[in-house]
């Protein structure tokens, strides 16, 4: 930094930091545009579907790091989402009660309340990442169906544990009087009926800001040494370790990263209007939705999984009349996919790899 030596790749560090942040910044700008134009164009109902699709994209893309890139089979992803949702919800709910004496929305677009949301979602992600570490450890010894059972069990255990939590504290006096143990052991998050009262901050901007964060991160991981190591674990563990890949580290890292992003998505979900986050979301039905998205999208294909997330979120909404047949549609879709395209929509490829230019030249990560 002191002597910026001439370098073919870059000049000085502010520009390299900017260079590294560019895609994130571009995504933020798109999110702002989406936030201010979309509701006016399509109305609140379709905007809501776009929000749901965004949250599903975060979950599917993050699950794809474990199931697609690293080749481990996790069906507990909704568990991580729910952990993140509850943690983030607690922070904003009790944070608002503490700071502003009411768990209502505070401040406008990019106001203090929304920053509280962003911070809570990141914190929820960290809590979920901690869970991801714990759930990732068995993946060192188990594989395939056995690992799937462990992750399935994680979601179910979480669901039951959340049902045993305490009542939500509803007024600021009670909160000020309460000790940490009143708040945390057991957590005062509403038990089986769910955690109601969380301020509903989630909007198009924040959802797509986090979508950007997740997708750019996933993309950069995939086309890096870390991602290559993960794919090597998927392809052949014995060969991977013989080539110097620390397979234990790669697997746990995949779980931790996937859980982190799932946690942030859970935070956004908990703050979405019309949603009361409750223990049932940790169960395996919801985890299956995300597994279906990754299978439908193609293992390891970020763009494929995003497309699948959008399709599977919007399809049941667009076929509102057939809503109770949603699961039948899913099943038929999956069986059809298995027969016609067992590798998923895009297989292991990204959408742009179907254009001949990229087939001919060695794949080169864009700067």
């Amino acid at each position: 930094m002191a002597n910026p030596a001439p370098n073919p790749l870059n000049a000085s560090w502010p520009s390299t930091v900017w260079h590294g942040l560019q895609p994130y910044a571009a995504g933020m700008v798109l999110a702002v545009i989406l936030h201010f134009t979309l509701p006016g164009m399509v109305g609140p109902y379709y905007s809501r579907i776009v929000i749901d699709a965004g949250i599903a994209m975060i979950l599917a893309v993050s699950l794809n790091i474990v199931n697609g890139l690293t080749g481990q089979f996790s069906i507990g992803h909704a568990g991580f989402m729910t952990v993140g949702g509850y943690s983030a919800g607690m922070l904003t709910y009790y944070g608002s009660l503490w700071l502003w004496d009411a768990p209502e929305k505070h401040g406008g677009f990019l106001g203090s309340g929304e920053w509280l949301l962003a911070g809570s979602c990141l914190a929820g992600g960290l809590v979920a990442a901690g869970m991801g570490y714990v759930v990732g450890l068995p993946s060192l010894r188990l594989r395939g169906d056995y690992l799937a059972i462990v992750t399935l069990g994680f979601g179910e255990i979480l669901r039951v544990v959340l049902q045993q939590t305490g009542k939500v504290l509803e007024d600021p006096e009670a909160l000020h009087a309460a000790s940490w143990s009143d708040l945390l052991c057991p957590p005062a998050v509403g038990g089986a009926i769910g955690f109601s009262g969380i301020p509903k901050y989630t909007n198009l901007f924040w959802v797509y800001a986090f979508v950007t964060f997740t997708v750019v991160a996933a993309y950069r991981i995939k086309y890096s040494s870390i991602g290559r190591g993960m794919i090597a674990v998927r392809e052949d563990e014995i060969a991977a370790q013989a080539m110097g890949v620390n397979i234990a580290r790669q697997k746990v890292l995949a779980f931790v990263l996937a859980a982190f992003f799932a946690g942030t998505a859970g935070g956004l979900f908990a703050h979405e209007s019309g949603v009361i986050i409750s223990p049932k979301y940790a169960g395996f039905q919801r985890s299956f939705d995300y597994v279906i998205m990754t299978v439908l999208g193609g293992r390891g294909s970020i763009s494929g999984v995003m497309l699948a997330a959008v399709l599977l979120t919007s399809l049941p909404e667009l076929l509102r009349d057939f809503d109770q047949y949603r699961l039948i549609v899913f099943a038929v879709l999956l069986v059809g996919m298995m027969l016609l395209r067992p590798q998923g929509l895009f297989g292991i490829h990204e959408i742009w790899e179907f254009f001949p230019r990229h087939r001919a030249s060695p794949r080169r990560p864009p700067a």
């Binding site: 080539m243 890949v245 030249s361």
Partner: protein, 263 residues
Amino acid sequence: MMDSAASATPLLQVEEIGISFGGLKAVQQFSLRLPKAGLFGLIGPNGAGKTTVFNLLTGVYRPDAGRMHIEQLNLVGRRPHEIVAAGIARTFQNIRLFPNLSVLDNVRLAGQLRNSHGLAATLLRTRRSREQEETLRHQALELLAIFDLQDRAAELAHGLSYGHQRRLEIVRALATHPQVLLLDEPAAGLNPQEKRALATCIREIRDRFQLSILLIEHDMGLVMDICERIVVLDHGVTICEGTPEQVQNDPSVIAAYLGCVTG
């Protein structure tokens, strides 16, 4: 010449390692002194324990007994990826490429163990991470060019011909910058012409990269042609060690291969 090679300070020193699986003593008291830039062969009938020796050396199995060192560094109890970092790379008897990775990525993956950038640098794509990835790419392409595979860099590994896959496995092992290269039956399935090319290639690798090679091979012509010394295993026990001439004339080796007792 042969004696000087054996008596020089060995790069890889293996002393009396052994492993049993239940009651089966797969390898017993295996010793090896592999000098720098030495080219040794490991032969023996099927099931003699040759690949088990490789698995012991690379940390897939942990020896029950004995010591292994590479340049004073203890290898017993280290995990496979640590042993690769210490400088021992291998190929596999049944080709184990990453089938759905490109040829380039197969090689890059092997080179990346010396990267020093972590997750944060990857997510921010910092200058250092980009420089390291770019260096990795260049080195991989250079290595592929040496072995005449650069035109295939973008193809998926499973699309290569069998001979090319065998060659790519060697390239991939070399990309880890090893000091010792373990080749497990590199000539299996190759035609005579390809075998001759392989023999030249193995010698060139040794000379060019100045590394030590231990070769498992069933093709006696190839082994006798290129190896300086040969170790013969039978039922997990070393029955003979010496120059190709010594081994060829050793009665216990002939007995192990032909199943009759002579002398």
